[in-house]
């Protein structure tokens, strides 16, 4: 019997999405309800950040680095500064290292909360966003107390951080972490055992490690597939080797295990925040920055690569200098760029509703992918 010829329909999703995903255009070819091909179009948020570095002094580029991924600004600042400090052959003081880790882990929690709210909104639960954003708001208020800004902090400088964190703010942070679990339980109870949620995420978008490794996926997406790779333990930077934490791993690789891992990461990050805060409370007299002239930064000619475990995966900053006061080449290796590519592969065979669930669970953030 001859196969009936079926017309394939091409549907365009984006670049504007109703749920805070970022500007990604997906051109999806449908056969009935199933997707046969999914083509992402990047570049809507391309700001030329790599070229911008070539015309600017190191200090002029530093505020732009916060904006490579505006939801995880601290991590990119750390990546850039780590590379520059390696070429300057300096080591920042202990207090500065603890402060950097503290702010980075709080940033991880706030970014995961935003991800959680938006993921649930995608699945249809329009109430969960507000609960998640309420918790995130408290973290942004803490950032405002520490750095003066809620996002785009511009807090890290060459040689350390701008200012020490006072005891009042450290106690506020401890209050926040102690009250967090109780408030988060409201959200968790609504979602984690919910049969509709489980039905929509379990067994969906399975990313095995055989697919993930050639696509260079790192971070939670890889850890949900069974490979326990966390660059805070792999190539420890700052004071991560002195802190006590575990790296959760899951083995199914579906949307549900990615969700579960991010929830676990929130709790582990808050524990790290507690450890850093306790250390800082008892070591307030240390310096937080080296005495460096911030404008007159001239690292030696050479190449430095920094590895940072950001919210969504591995962030590498490749820095090539030629001894002058401007960098010669800055390259950002960002995790969402590769996640978009794997989305192209995971979409095939699913319906559009499932595509949005997979897209949400991979935690793709476009400013990172487009730079």
């Amino acid at each position: 019997m001859k196969e009936l010829a079926r017309n394939k329909m091409t549907v365009n999703i984006g670049p504007q999405h109703p749920s805070t995903h970022g500007v990604l255009r997906l051109s999806v070819e449908l056969d009935g309800e199933k997707i046969t091909k999914c083509t992402p179009y990047l570049g809507y948020l391309h700001r030329g950040l790599e070229k911008a570095a070539q015309d600017r002094l190191f200090a002029q580029y530093l505020p732009m680095v916060d904006r490579v991924d505006y939801l995880a600004g601290f991590f990119y600042s750390q990546a850039y500064l780590s590379a520059v400090e390696e070429l300057l052959e300096i080591e920042i003081p202990k207090n500065a290292q603890y402060i950097r880790v503290l702010t980075m882990e709080l940033n991880r929690v706030s970014s995961h909360l935003l991800w959680l709210g938006c993921f649930l909104m995608d699945l249809g639960n329009q109430g969960a966003v507000f609960y998640a954003f309420n918790l995130r708001n408290e973290i942004l208020n803490i950032f405002e107390k520490i750095t003066g800004a809620r996002m785009m902090h511009n807090y890290y400088i060459f040689g350390g951080v701008r200012d020490k964190i006072s005891n009042n703010i450290l106690n506020d942070i401890l209050d926040f972490t102690q009250n967090f679990n109780q408030k988060f339980k409201v959200l968790e109870n609504m979602i984690t055992e919910n049969p509709i949620f489980l039905d929509r995420t379990k067994g969906l978008g399975i990313l095995t490690s055989e697919i993930a490794l050639p696509y260079a996926i790192t971070g939670v997406n890889l850890r949900a597939s069974g490979l326990s790779l966390d660059f805070r333990k792999e190539k420890p930077y700052l004071i991560y080797d002195e802190l006590d934490f575990t790296v959760p791993t899951a083995f199914e690789g579906d949307c549900y295990s990615r969700y579960k891992l991010r929830i676990d990461e929130i709790k582990i990050s808050l524990d790290l925040v507690n450890q850093c805060t306790d250390w800082l409370l008892s070591h307030q007299e240390g310096k937080v920055a080296l005495e460096l002239n911030q404008i007159n930064i001239k690292p030696k000619a050479g190449k430095a690569v920094s590895y940072t475990e950001s919210v969504r995966g591995l962030v590498m900053c490749h820095l090539i200098t030629d001894g002058s006061e401007k960098p010669k080449r800055v390259k950002w290796r960002t995790p969402s760029f590769y996640a978009v590519q794997v989305l192209e592969k995971l979409a095939i065979g699913n319906t559009i509703a499932d595509l949005m669930a997979i897209y949400g669970s991979l935690d793709i953030v476009l400013p990172e992918a487009d730079r």
């Binding site: 990047l42 570049g43 391309h46 030329g48 790599e50 070229k51 070539q54 490690s209 490794l213 050639p214 696509y215 260079a216 790192t218 490979l227 790779l229 792999e234 690569v305 591995l314 590498m316 490749h318 090539i320 010669k328 080449r329 390259k331 290796r333 760029f337 590769y338 978009v340 590519q341 487009d370």
Partner: protein, 133 residues
């Protein structure tokens, strides 16, 4: 390690066979003009072996073309498109060598050293010419 362009594919295949299954980063750097006044680029590959948890960095110098490694490492597909978009390096045997960030009709490759001085990179003039048609 520095090798000539055509041996890139063989070298990376050898690395892949030895367990470096993940190409976590591919960067290009513009070194033109070189001693003979021609274009010269350097590609930096960073590979990872999840079994031994080992990293390897591999650099190579090319002129304007390089073989595509997207059949060995899937992540190279987008990486090479980005390098083509920003530098103009053509990768042979790439399944889909199109621009990824910039518009399809954009002329010029921004991160090249000769970008700002080239007279054929006037995007505004292109738009005016198209709107007159």
């Amino acid at each position: 390690m520095k090798t000539e362009s055509m041996e890139i594919f063989q070298t990376l295949s050898k690395f892949k066979r030895n367990g470096f299954v993940s190409l976590i980063s591919l960067m290009a750097e513009d070194l033109s003009p070189n001693a003979e006044g021609k274009d010269e680029f350097k590609l930096h590959y960073t590979l990872y072996n999840p079994v031994n948890k080992e990293f390897k960095e591999f650099e190579t110098t090319i002129n304007n073309e390089a073989p595509s490694v997207s059949t060995l490492y899937k992540s190279a597909n987008y990486d090479e498109r980005e390098i083509y978009d920003l530098f103009g390096i053509k990768f042979k045997n790439h399944p889909n060598l199109k621009r990824i960030f910039l518009d399809e009709n954009f002329e010029g490759h921004p991160l090249r050293n000769d970008y700002e001085n080239a007279s054929n990179c006037d995007f505004k003039a292109n738009i005016e010419a198209e709107s007159k048609e």
